[in-house]
């Protein structure tokens, strides 16, 4: 990325001048350019990101400003409600002259920092802040558009944003080229990647081996260690998670989720960087033809993330299928539902059906026979809708609603449809 963006000094000036009559519209326009970013930050005249701390957060019930870091509410908050006093207790940190750099390449799944990404940034901070007198800076390297507004709040000192279209989709080769340039230009002391299958795990390994370094993978803990070359020792999972490997921390680290606490006590500058010398090549041996449409209802049960499963307690199957469609859930069934011919055999969950690993398993009118429960052992969250508060499914469920399945499903569908409708109106 040779040039970040052409600057318009006048607009930037207006953006900084809150009293200027065009202030709001310019902010909105900048907003658009910055890829959905909020008006809480913009590019300063020196090419450095400027932040408007007042633009983040919202006013809490007690009149105190709150910053919601879950990213849930901020989207719906009016961003320029920023007149109030900043009640932010977090320490602002600006590392002007970093002693070294820690490069982090977050996954930015769906344009957002995942929990895993935030843990990585927490880990990066630990590495950067080892010597209070001579702190290092955390450089986040972001690919493509993203929706994060408060990059400084997760511990990022500097941001390198590669936003060209060629980086979109599955583009490991061009991304790798960009990262090798970063290595050449900035020579970070550490490179950190989330060890997540479809993100950092891939890119991190590519980069490490391109640079002929042996990374530590599956890292879940680091400890200071004076004997180690870089002053740290790490514990990494090996052999498919059955082994702990302790070794000196190398330059390249691929870490697991929860490898460190995410940053929440400091606010960092998240200053925009640009580097020269990145010449994106379109010459690639891998061509991304785009995502293939897969109907969520038809996704293989074993792979499904959200399953709506029906049993003997489902009386209206049309409504059930409709609900699955509206919720975007994959359909599952108890054996009774399959035996009775309401569902096909490949939809059966349980001992003699499929063992599922869904994040959310919504069991409608299923009693929770042991053979069925076996199949959902590895589900994260189980929600049950059932008439019988004493049945075993309720005991297994994280959330159970006692009542008639048809009515509750109908209410749920109504709400989701409403929510969708509302969103569409807003868009």
């Amino acid at each position: 990325m040779s040039e970040i963006r052409r600057r318009d000094p006048r607009r930037e000036w207006i953006a900084r001048n809150r009293l200027h009559p065009e202030h709001a519209s310019v902010l909105a326009a900048l907003d658009g350019i910055e890829g959905g970013g909020a008006t809480s930050e913009w590019l300063g005249p020196s090419g450095v990101i400027r932040k408007n701390p007042r633009a983040v957060g919202f006013i809490g019930p007690s009149g105190i400003k709150r910053i919601d870091r879950s990213g849930l509410q901020s989207g719906s908050q009016p961003t320029v409600s920023a007149m109030a006093v900043s009640g932010d207790s977090r320490r602002a940190v600006n590392i002007a002259e970093p002693a070294f750099l820690v490069a982090v390449v977050p996954d930015l799944i769906g344009g957002r920092l995942s929990a895993h990404d935030k843990d990585m940034l927490g880990l990066a901070r630990r590495l950067a802040d080892v010597d209070v007198g001579r702190p290092g800076a955390v450089v986040a390297i972001l690919f493509c558009e993203h929706k994060e507004e408060a990059l400084g709040e997760v511990g990022i000192d500097k941001v390198l944003h590669f936003n060209e279209a060629i980086y979109a989709g599955f583009a490991p080769e061009v991304r790798l080229a960009a990262l090798t340039t970063v290595e050449r230009e900035l020579a970070p002391r550490y490179w950190l990647f989330p060890d997540s299958p479809l993100g950092g795990a891939d890119l991190g390994r590519r980069l490490a081996l391109r640079l002929n370094e042996r990374p530590a993978t599956g890292v879940w803990q680091i400890e200071a260690d004076n004997e180690a070359l870089l002053g740290w020792r790490c514990t990494a999972r090996g052999a498919a998670g059955s082994l702990d490997i302790q070794r000196p921390l190398p330059r390249f680290v691929l870490a697991l989720a929860e490898c460190a606490e995410p940053v929440d006590e400091t606010r960092h500058a998240a200053e925009r960087l640009s580097i020269a010398g990145v010449t994106p090549t379109t010459l690639s041996r891998i061509e991304d033809l785009g995502q293939v449409a897969v109907d969520p209802a038809g996704v293989a049960l074993a792979e499904a993330e959200f399953i709506l499963s029906g049993g003997n307690g489902v009386k209206n199957w049309d409504a059930f299928h409709h609900a699955a469609k509206v919720l975007g859930a994959t359909e599952g069934a108890s054996r009774v539902a399959v035996d009775d011919g309401f569902m096909t055999r490949d939809r059966q969950v349980g001992a003699t059906g499929t063992w599922v690993t869904a994040r959310v398993y919504l069991a409608v009118g299923i009693s929770g026979a042991i053979q069925h429960l076996q199949g959902i052992q590895r589900c994260d969250k189980v929600v049950a809708i059932n008439l019988d508060p004493g049945c075993d499914m309720i005991k297994r469920a994280d959330l159970a609603v006692i009542g008639d399945s048809a009515e509750i499903l109908a209410a749920l569908v109504g709400m989701v449809e409403q929510r969708r409708g509302g969103q569409r109106d807003a868009a």
Binding site: L209, G238, A240, S242, D244, F306, K395, V401, G403, I408
Partner: protein
């Protein structure tokens, strides 16, 4: 599928797996899926030759595991023999440079040893071949280009075109490996060649121990109000039995479910 002219050669790299509970040697889950993909390919593209490769030593354990792959319906396996603790990458790279199979399938991570998942990347780097991970299915192979589906979360797929020769790695999204049968496994032959022996010195210096249970992260509640703090404290800690809503209207129930679905971020 268009048959390639002389039939395609597919090399599948396999390792000795380890059962997660008992630690017994077995065929490695991902590698077996790789073999499965190759076998499916061979049945669709007549003339496909499958060369299953393993770098390591031959002993009772590895024999059990390797025969596990052979029982899927293979006649032989090429064993690049090297003593324990050797670096498999060098041996495999040397072999592949000579054999030059257009398509190499591998698992993503081994179940034994470091299991760092570096091998496919190291090979790709040494051979200078493109690499794709998360293979779900091979669609076509035409004119030296393979079209394949890569697995994305939630059962979604992405179509990729990759120029051969290439290395493609397989993980849990690959097709489930077929059963390994005793008869074919017993009959199949090992073709043994000795390979370079480069000990992995670094690994020997590390401290290896059975995995400890990772401490559960404490949910640090920094709630805005006393009410939130109270709610957080009162809500269940993970693992215990869940929340049961009885005597609620369907709407109230639906709200609770909707909230959970949103928290888990499964509604799209």
């Amino acid at each position: 599928m268009q048959p390639e002219q002389q039939g395609l050669e597919v090399a599948v790299l396999v390792s000795v797996g380890r059962h997660p509970i008992t630690g017994r040697a077995r065929r490695a889950e991902q590698d077996a899926r790789g073999v499965e993909l190759a076998l499916t390919l061979a049945s669709e593209l007549p003339g496909t030759r499958i060369n299953v490769l393993h770098a390591g030593q031959q002993d009772i354990n590895s024999e059990v595991a390797l025969r596990g792959y052979l029982g899927m319906g293979l006649n032989s396996l090429t064993l690049l023999e090297q003593p324990e603790g050797s670096d498999a990458i060098a041996a495999l790279a040397a072999y592949l440079t000579k054999a030059l199979p257009p398509l190499v399938l591998t698992g993503t991570r081994a179940e034994c040893g470091e299991g760092s998942g570096l091998l496919p990347y190291a090979l790709a780097e040494r051979l200078g071949w493109p690499l794709v991970n998360g293979l779900a299915a091979v669609e076509t192979i035409e004119n030296g280009v393979v079209t394949l589906l890569q697995a994305l979360p939630r059962g979604q797929r992405r179509r990729l075109k990759v120029r051969l020769p290439a290395i493609v790695s397989v993980d849990e999204a690959g097709p489930v490996a077929r059963q390994s049968a005793f008869g074919p496994a017993r009959r199949a032959k090992f073709i043994v060649t000795s390979a370079i022996h480069e000990p992995d010195r670094e690994l020997t210096q590390w401290h290896l121990a059975p995995a400890r249970k990772r401490p559960k992260r404490l949910k640090i509640v920094k709630a805005a109000s006393a009410r939130d703090r109270f709610k957080a404290a009162a809500s269940k800690a993970g693992g215990k039995s869940g929340q049961v809503l009885s005597d609620v209207t369907p709407e109230q129930g639906a709200v609770a479910i909707l909230k959970l679905l949103e928290e888990e971020d499964v509604l799209r």
